[in-house]
């Protein structure tokens, strides 16, 4: 079974891939549709089959077939040939050879496109391959052209208005099934898998055809032109697949389907002069042009990892943005215990101009004073002589340690930065810490320090009227370089835990370092198994195991879904759920999307969940569709706190005001002991 599945599923998914999703049952339906015209079905199937065999002959690994370009291009070529030629021994051989040819074409074009242009190859191999094969067949008179024979004409038993009929036929034309019955099935299929894609197909089709009608002067011609499928494909690819769905991506979709019109007609001149259809050339060309431009200028909304449908991609993207506002420039607090922010970004005294992204820290007492007694001596100041810890792991670039500490109230105007340590974080930025106590710095240039290493002691050297720690991030390795914004990771402000944040002036912050025992419990290791009983109306067994993905990330799986997790700084995260979203693993995710590794009471924190967590499918899909127009429309907010040690209580606030409460108990050995989510109970089995 496993063997059949591993070949069949990628094949079915590649049928779906033509409609920009990866549904297996959708693929099966499409496969079935193509067999309504047996020539078509057999043509496509043989072509894909030969590509498979050839890859096998090359000795390529099975994982290779998961890359859908290698399947859908031979498939399209096969379909295009099956559309043209009647099945017999000769044509079967022809389909077979064409499959191999298109596989090779895909291989080379994939290489060229990804290497030189950093673009997906799309269906360029199909356009090139089919054009070549059609041309070659001009001479192959032993092949029987199907149009000369009577064939089954499937169409709906009633008359549709031309503009609807045209839309449906164009959809069918994607699979060389230009009848309105197939079109209707495909349209329903698209609607069921993704409302956004359906919406885009409609927008794309009518934008393109209306523009074409305006230019050519004939609406009826525009609606019966089968190459109009290019407009809707372009719109779907641009608006929902390669760009994060948004009002702006919809604008791009609309504009690129307009561009596709002259491209289609321009190309037709060449292709049709050889008696060929233009295939998907206009679609490929317009998508590639726009995508190349957007990627090169660094447009923020380009999808880096498409998650099956535009809805899932959007959900993932929005949730990620809310949960991880920044992961590239983060530093931890450079001290221990509670310190107060004296000056933050754009501070009122010295954090101005080029140096506005900096933070100063002091220690204050209950009255808000930074010193005891009269404050006449440096030793009166709470901050003076306290350890300064490295906020990042990195290389020590330069150190100055010999400047004297100023008496309170005075400042050294010659050496602004005083005694300092400049560190280089290998993620690509520099971190400067200054005003150290004279001769207290313990590290040397060239040394590599781990985060949390003792760098030296807080002092009052440089432009510093009272002992404090100055911290900023810069992009160049010299003193006085312009500062850049950054995030502070893992800290408590009052009782509230922040995994990322920008400290505010006057805020009392305490860094959080992972508690060793909690870290050990939640640092789930590969092949660790957890077996749960799920009480949901009836008892159900849930067996999970920890596995590693090829990219080095880890997930918990029950065989149906993958729940990705990880520990970053001092926080355990469930990142996202992949696969069958009905798996009970989702309750684990929704109940504890993040857990700070602290074991003290009364700590609370916030997080966001994907809209996937909305239980009603209708509402969820509607919200997702509407979210694409305005990203801040809907969110699922989670407020969590430690009820007691190892017990997390959360309240999920859904759009529309619905609230769900959940509890998660961390197991005494590793993993989770008990999860209660909205009256569903998941309990770890006795071990």
């Amino acid at each position: 079974m496993g063997g059949v599945k591993s070949y069949l599923f990628p094949l079915l998914r590649s049928y779906s891939a033509l409609l920009f999703n990866s549904s297996v049952w959708g693929g099966a339906l499409l496969l079935f549709l193509t067999f309504l015209n047996p020539n078509l079905g057999i043509g496509g199937f043989i072509s894909v089959f030969s590509a498979y065999l050839f890859a096998h002959l090359l000795g390529l690994k099975r994982d290779f077939f998961r890359i859908d370009y290698y399947i859908y291009n031979p498939l399209l070529v096969g379909l295009s040939l099956g559309y043209l030629f009647k099945v017999n021994v000769v044509s079967l051989l022809f389909f077979f050879v064409s499959g191999i040819l298109s596989f090779l074409l895909t291989y080379i074009l994939y290489g060229l496109f990804s290497y030189y242009l950093r673009l997906p190859v799309l269906s360029v191999p199909f356009v090139v391959g089919s054009s070549l094969l059609y041309l070659s067949s001009l001479k192959f008179s032993n092949l029987f052209v199907i149009n000369l024979y009577p064939k089954l004409h499937l169409s709906l038993p009633f008359q549709l208005p031309l503009f609807i009929d045209g839309y449906l036929k164009s959809l069918g034309a994607v699979f060389f099934l230009s009848n309105n019955f197939a079109g209707l099935v495909i349209a329903l299929l698209i609607f069921l898998t993704s409302r956004i894609l359906f919406f885009l197909s409609v927008v794309g089709y009518y934008t393109g055809t209306l523009f074409q009608a305006l230019l050519t002067g004939s609406f009826s011609q525009a609606f019966s032109d089968l190459s109009a499928f290019n407009y809707l494909l372009t719109s779907m690819a641009v608006g929902g697949v390669f760009l994060i769905p948004s009002l702006r991506s919809y604008k791009f979709a609309l504009l690129s389907s307009l561009i596709a019109v002259p491209l289609t007609f321009g190309a037709k001149v060449f292709w049709e002069s050889y008696g060929l259809p233009v295939f998907a050339f206009p679609f490929n060309f317009s998508v590639h042009m726009l995508l190349y431009t957007l990627i090169t200028i660094g447009y923020y909304g380009v999808v880096s990892f498409y998650r099956g449908t535009p809805e899932r991609t959007l959900d993932y993207y929005l949730t990620y943005l809310r949960r991880f506002p920044s992961v590239d420039r983060t530093v931890s607090l450079p001290f221990s215990g509670p310190w107060t922010v004296w000056q933050s970004f754009e501070g009122p005294w010295t954090h101005k101009g080029l140096w506005k992204y900096a933070v100063d820290f002091v220690i204050t007492d209950e009255k808000g004073k930074t010193y005891k007694g009269g404050g006449y001596y440096l030793t009166d100041y709470y901050a003076f002589g306290k350890p300064v810890l490295s906020p990042v792991s990195g290389d020590v670039v330069s150190v100055v340690s010999d400047l004297p500490d100023n008496p309170p109230g005075e400042a050294d105007k010659e050496n602004n930065w005083g005694n300092y340590v400049l560190l280089y974080d290998r993620r690509g930025f520099y971190v400067l810490l200054c005003h150290f106590k004279q001769y207290s710095i313990k590290v040397k240039p060239g040394q590599f320090v781990e985060k949390g290493t003792l760098l030296g002691l807080c002092g009052n050297s440089g432009y510093s009227p009272q002992p404090h720690i100055h911290l900023h991030v810069q992009l160049y390795p010299y003193l006085g370089a312009p500062t850049v914004p950054f995030f502070v990771s893992s800290y408590l402000s009052g009782n509230k835990f922040f995994d990322f944040g920008v400290p505010k002036e006057g805020e009392l912050l305490e860094p959080v370092f992972p508690e060793k025992s909690l870290l050990k419990k939640l640092n789930l290791l590969i092949d660790q198994e957890m077996t749960f009983t799920l009480f949901n109306n009836e008892k159900e067994l849930l067996k999970t195991v920890v596995k590693m993905a090829p990219d080095g990330t880890f997930y918990i799986t029950d065989g149906r879904a993958k729940l990705y997790f990880g520990i970053r700084n001092s926080t355990f995260y469930f990142y996202h759920l992949e696969g069958d979203t009905s798996s009970p693993l989702k309750y684990l995710f929704f109940s504890a999307p993040k857990v700070p590794l602290i074991s003290r009471g009364k700590v609370k924190w916030e997080d966001y969940l994907p809209l996937l967590s909305i239980s009603s499918p209708l509402k969820r899909e509607l919200y997702l569709f509407l979210s694409s127009f305005n990203h801040s429309f809907f969110k699922v907010k989670v407020n969590s706190h430690f009820k007691k040690e190892g017990l997390i209580a959360s309240t999920l606030k859904f759009p529309g005001g619905k609230e769900v409460s959940s509890f998660v108990k961390i197991a005494p050995d590793f993993g989770f002991e008990e999860v209660i989510y909205d009256n569903r109970l998941i309990m770890r089995r006795k071990r």
Partner: protein, 454 residues
């Protein structure tokens, strides 16, 4: 403050041995304290009687926060565990628990007392050389952290673990040479002799205990911060040895307590303000040693069981002069209503002794005797006081540590204890005892009932 007129007197010049600290006898100096935290001493005695222990919530909280800040600002993972034996009055423990301290207990009695106060099992650290197996079982069931003292206890805990079918996380107590004399070697396993490593091997071999902590308590009233530095370095080295060789994860290093309070030890010339290092000096040595010897990014929990340093200075004892005497050697002596029965720490401290009123007259060296009919009942054998009239109240401090746990009921009832709240309110936190407290447990066989023939 207006001082009362004092008649000039001529004192005989006493020629003592010369010493660089001077004689310390300033005949006209006297320390007067009319109130404690704003509450007149007079009023306290009127309402609650004498003798009377008085605790200041403000001082207690302030001192705790000072100690806490000294450590948390230097090391990111610190837990304070309140040493119950130092003072286990409910009110005192409750204040410290509200400040975030967990409970450190050394007997089943203290364990039960902490639980009764509402401390959850996992917030209790269970130390001590004698832990009955029944109490070990309770402690394991309730998730307390147990620090093992000897090999027999390893066996006991293994038995408990097997009976309950759980893997028990434990710590072991070590003793080591840190340069402190006398070396406390009777508790735990000796490090230098290899006994500690044997204990770890024994635990690993048993397979039902999981070693997750190290505990060490080097002594009491330690005046040398660098002793702790040595202790911490040795502990960290040992912890990594255990982690690397046995695969255990050492989650906490418990360095006990032993920090001094501003009390003056007998035999120490210098006043405590000079002789006793500040808590910051201890914190600097301890945290500095941790940060420099731990692997970067690894912050096992530092547990401190400081008792005396936190509570001692929050406690006062008010006692009344009952009578005075002239001793045969010419020294003056006073008989007080409180002695070593309630001031156990008098055996090793010279307390700070203040009087509740201005008293006219030159000070002279005096002896303070307690109310017991025993020769050892001496509160102080050398204190300079003016001639005190009968009924004068003496305010003795610091007495917050150990006295209200080690006091004894010998021929007298134990006095009441009051707490002055942060807002100045005065609350009784332990009533003075009466006869019923003492006879409650007694059983007199019927046949022995006393009947006097009329």
């Amino acid at each position: 403050m207006k001082r009362p007129y004092e008649k000039p007197v001529i004192n005989k010049l006493k020629v003592n041995f010369m010493n660089k600290f001077g004689t310390g006898t300033f005949s006209l100096s006297k320390k007067v304290r009319k109130e404690i935290e704003g509450v007149p001493v007079e009023k306290l005695v009127e309402e609650f009687g004498s003798p009377l222990f008085v605790f200041s919530e403000k001082r207690l909280r302030q001192k705790f926060r000072e100690v806490k800040n000294a450590f948390t600002l230097r090391y990111p993972n610190v837990e304070f565990s309140w040493s119950y034996k130092t003072n286990y009055l409910d009110a005192i423990c409750a204040i410290l628990h509200s400040e975030g301290e967990t409970a450190e207990v050394v007997s089943e009695f203290e364990y039960e007392k902490a639980r009764r106060l509402g401390v959850p099992g996992n917030k209790i650290i269970y130390n001590g050389p004698y832990k009955p197996i029944s109490s070990l079982k309770t402690a394991v069931e309730e998730g307390a952290r147990i620090n093992i003292d000897h090999f027999e206890e390893i066996s006991d805990l293994e038995e408990v673990a097997k009976e309950l079918g759980v893997k028990v996380k434990v710590g072991i107590r070590l003793n080591m040479d840190t340069g402190i004399k006398p070396q406390w070697s009777r508790f735990g396993f000796n490090l230098e002799s290899g006994q500690a490593l044997d204990a770890v091997k024994r635990i690993a071999a048993g397979g039902v205990l999981e070693l997750c902590g190290l505990h060490c308590h080097i002594g009491t009233f330690i005046l040398d911060p660098s002793a702790y530095e040595k202790e911490v370095k040795k502990l960290v080295d040992f912890a990594y040895k255990v982690e690397d060789e046995f695969g255990f994860k050492i989650e906490y290093l418990d360095i006990g307590g032993g920090f001094p309070s501003k009390n003056r030890l007998r035999g120490v010339y210098l006043p405590p303000d000079v002789a006793v290092p500040s808590i910051d000096e201890f914190a600097e040595k301890i945290c500095g040693a941790l940060l420099s010897s731990l692997r970067p990014g690894d912050y096992p929990k530092l547990i401190l069981e400081s008792g005396r340093a936190i509570v001692d200075e929050a406690g006062f004892l008010i006692t009344t002069v009952h009578a005075s005497k002239r001793m045969p050697d010419g020294r003056r002596a006073y008989i007080l209503d409180a002695g070593v029965n309630v001031l156990f720490t008098a055996f090793w401290y010279h307390f700070n002794i203040e009087i509740d009123r201005e008293v006219v007259g030159p000070s002279e060296p005096c002896i303070l005797y307690g109310p017991l009919c025993m020769n050892i009942d001496v509160v102080d054998d050398d204190v300079n006081l003016p001639p005190l009239p009968r009924g004068t109240k003496l305010i003795i401090s610091p007495v917050g540590a150990y006295n209200v746990t080690q006091w004894m009921q010998f021929i007298r009832y134990r006095p009441g204890v009051v707490l002055i709240g942060e807002n100045g309110s005065v609350e009784l936190i332990r009533e003075a005892e009466d006869l019923s407290d003492i006879v409650r447990r007694e059983k007199l066989p019927e046949r022995l009932k006393v009947k006097w023939e009329e």
